[in-house]
């Protein structure tokens, strides 16, 4: 009997020690390199209708940038219009300076996403569509993020541009999958809270270190960073979870 109690005690203590183990967040160096070097995840979900329009319309293919006519655009269903906006951006962008991003970002938590504007981006028409179809766009984005190996920078920027805080749980889920996250997802979460002026985050030490200029300085370096640690990651996730709950409860 005495032995049984010891065994039970050992088992219970063992269980406790397992559950109190700190979560370790792992990221694949190769994945981080891919994220640093690439911008978009093309064809997360393809649209046979859009593909067919481009295939049979030389004018659409040869346009600069390639784009379908207004008539063809109007014939697309809602899902296709989202895909068209995300996968076939039809406007030109300019990049003032080629990305001068710090190397080895996987070891740091960066204040900002890398300067990554592509030479093409969404047009005003496409932007308006995504804005006006927020719910279905978020469903699409969440599905894409869940099914892709990594979250493209294009999607991270879209989440920030449109304040898609509804994607927070999906992003956090990605962080918690072994070797499935890159540090830019954490940056995306922090920027979401920063842009939304989430008070708890704005009062945090992490925010102070990353986003508030030092005494005597007018601006903070957009490449500012802090060393990555599991504790800080947990703290950011905690803020992001609370931020999401607060937004959803409003």
């Amino acid at each position: 009997m005495k032995h049984c109690i010891y065994i039970i005690l050992i088992l219970v203590l063992g269980q406790c020690s397992i559950s109190s183990q700190k979560t370790t967040y792992t990221t694949s160096p190769q994945l981080q390199r891919n994220i640093d070097d690439s911008y978009s995840t093309k064809n997360c979900f393809a649209s046979t209708k859009i593909d067919s329009i481009f295939k049979h319309n030389k004018k659409a293919r040869k346009a600069y940038p390639p784009r379908i006519s207004d008539e063809d655009y109007d014939s697309l269903n809602d899902q296709d219009k989202i895909i068209y906006a995300l996968e076939h951006p039809e406007s030109y962008y300019q990049i003032c300076s080629l990305p001068t991003n710090p190397k080895k970002t996987g070891t740091k938590l960066m204040a900002n996403l890398p300067m990554s504007f592509d030479e093409v981006g969404i047009s005003r028409k496409q932007r308006n569509y995504l804005e006006n179809h927020r719910d279905s766009t978020i469903v699409y984005l969440n599905n894409c993020i869940n099914q892709s190996v990594y979250v493209s920078r294009q999607y991270k920027e879209l989440i920030l541009t449109f304040n898609f805080y509804e994607c927070v749980p999906t992003l956090i889920k990605k962080i918690e999958q072994p070797e499935q996250y890159d540090t830019q997802i954490l940056t995306t979460l922090m920027l979401l809270m920063k842009y939304d002026k989430y008070p708890s985050f704005l009062e945090s030490k992490i925010y102070e270190k990353l986003y508030i200029p030092k005494k005597g300085e007018e601006y903070i370096d957009r490449k500012s960073s802090i060393p990555k640690s599991d504790k800080k990651i947990q703290e950011i996730i905690g803020f992001a979870n609370a931020f999401y709950q607060e937004k959803m409860n409003k």
Partner: protein
């Protein structure tokens, strides 16, 4: 009195050389640890580079001589700007092209013939160069000409706030409004800001200047064009060192109302 004014204007317009000769030699360009433009020594042969950006007047001469149709006229895809747009946002305007860089509903270039030509694509620039028997500077040549042997980040020294003496840039913090009065909100006449030590004007600001070559090991080199120097759009918050070191890029068929060029004489 009118004659005197004309002579004064004429003399001031002619007060700088059309081309500046850059001597052959080895020059230092780039910046330590810069991922694209690492500090290095480069040798260049002597070259003659235009002291100012190519103007509307010069581009008009090309159009009149060749009846050339620009990319924006053919594809109706020029990108224009208006105060109030989100940062880094540009608007496509099917009516905009080099004669109307902000679209036909806005003022054209009639009274801006001494401003740099804009709303032209890299493809258009190559056509101009072919006609003029000139070429674009390489990225290295552009930087050598801009630095004028300065060891500092800017050709005038280290103080970034002096940029307003040397270049037409965006003086407001954002592009949402114009709280501070800007001497030239968009382009300015070429050559009115102070030159660098070698007599080159507008190396910073006014218009982004297309350069000739590509950067090794970067993707999409065939579809993009590189540009230097920043433009009237660039503000202290949105441009890193006003492109002293950094290199801008756009699609080769894109025509923005803040992109122009200067040329180098062919030998």
């Amino acid at each position: 009195m009118n004659l005197l004014l004309f002579l004064l204007l004429f003399c001031s317009y002619q007060s700088f050389d059309a081309y500046i000769t850059i001597e052959a030699g080895t020059y230092t360009i780039g910046k330590t640890d810069h991922p694209i433009n690492e500090q290095k020594e480069v040798y260049v042969d002597a070259f003659k580079i235009s002291a100012t950006e190519i103007t509307n007047e010069q581009f008009l001469a090309f159009i009149e001589a060749t009846a050339y149709e620009t990319t924006a006229e053919i594809h109706k895809n020029a990108m224009t700007f208006e105060v109030g747009l989100a940062e880094f946002e540009w608007l496509e305007d099917s009516t905009a092209y080099w004669r109307f860089p902000f679209g036909t509903k806005k003022e054209g270039i009639e009274n801006k013939m001494n401003h740099p030509v804009t709303c032209i694509s890299f493809i258009d620039v190559l056509a101009y160069c072919e006609w003029a028997n000139e070429r674009l500077p390489t990225l290295a040549e552009w930087e050598i000409a801009c630095r004028a042997n300065s060891k500092d980040l800017y050709f005038w020294g280290k103080d970034a706030s002096k940029i307003n003496e040397y270049g037409n840039i965006w003086t407001n913090a954002t592009h949402q409004d114009t709280l501070i009065s800007d001497q030239h909100l968009f382009t300015s006449p070429v050559g009115i800001y102070a030159p660098n030590a070698w007599g080159l004007h507008d190396m910073y600001g006014n218009v982004f200047e297309f350069c000739a070559d590509t950067i090794p090991n970067l993707p999409d080199n065939q579809s993009v064009a590189y540009a230097r120097g920043g433009s009237w759009w660039c503000s202290s918050q949105s441009c890193n060192y006003f492109n002293s070191i950094d290199i801008g890029r756009v699609h080769r068929y894109a025509s923005f109302s803040n992109h122009g060029f200067r040329t180098v004489k062919r030998k």
